[in-house]
Amino acid sequence: MRSHQTVIANQIRRLRFENGEMTQDQLAKMAGVTRHTIMALEAGKYFPSLLLAFRIARAFGTPVERVFEYRETDCPPSS
């Protein structure tokens, strides 16, 4: 049986560089989290809450849909 895997992809790293080469620490301070949370977000190891997603989008001055993308992928059936 095929299963679906949901992922929230993000463009944080690209947007940081496009916004005056913002550091992870600077973004973390603006979003009210630690640098480690930003690192985990960029590595895809953590999905943000709605509040954090909006705070990060506000830090970049861009809509939240431009920062985060909801993806549903099909996982192949396990043998």
Binding site: G44, K45, Y46, S49
Partner: protein
């Protein structure tokens, strides 16, 4: 390394130190009320700055809070599992109608061991979730 990871490494070290000290006491003075004194070492978990962060007005961010909650649940779950395992083991070995006679210091020691299990499992879980992600 985040504050949570720093605390976890320190707490793991304190747990291993406590277990090592307990083993040393067992070796040299045998099992008795005096061996419970090693559990005072658990107070060392309060020593690092990461343990006193609340007093400096710093709290967890959402990811650290999620990791901390999962780690605490894992620690408490581990104690519950150990307790069930002990009850089952004693029941099968001594019989379900057997009576246990324990000195009071033994009961107190049991509580300290439960604290060791909670802190140890909490620390290990914190490290695993911090490295591998906290959204699973």
């Amino acid at each position: 390394m985040s504050d949570s990871e720093k605390w976890a490494w320190w707490a793991l070290g304190v747990v291993l130190l406590t277990i090592g000290a307990y083993a040393a006491f067992l070796l040299f003075i045998g099992h008795g009320p005096a061996t419970a004194s090693v559990f005072a070492l658990l107070a060392l978990t309060a020593l690092p700055a990461s343990s006193r962060r609340y007093f400096r007005g710093r709290t967890f961010d959402e990811r650290e809070r999620e990791i901390a909650n999962k780690a605490l649940r894992a620690g408490c779950g581990a104690v519950w599992l150990v307790f069930i395992g002990l009850v089952l083991a004693i029941g099968f070995v001594k019989g379900w109608d057997a009576t246990l006679v324990l000195p009071v210091w033994n009961l107190a020691e049991t509580l300290w061991w439960a604290a060791v299990v909670v802190v140890g499992v909490e620390a290990v879980t914190t490290l695993i979730l911090s490295r591998g992600g906290a959204h699973a």
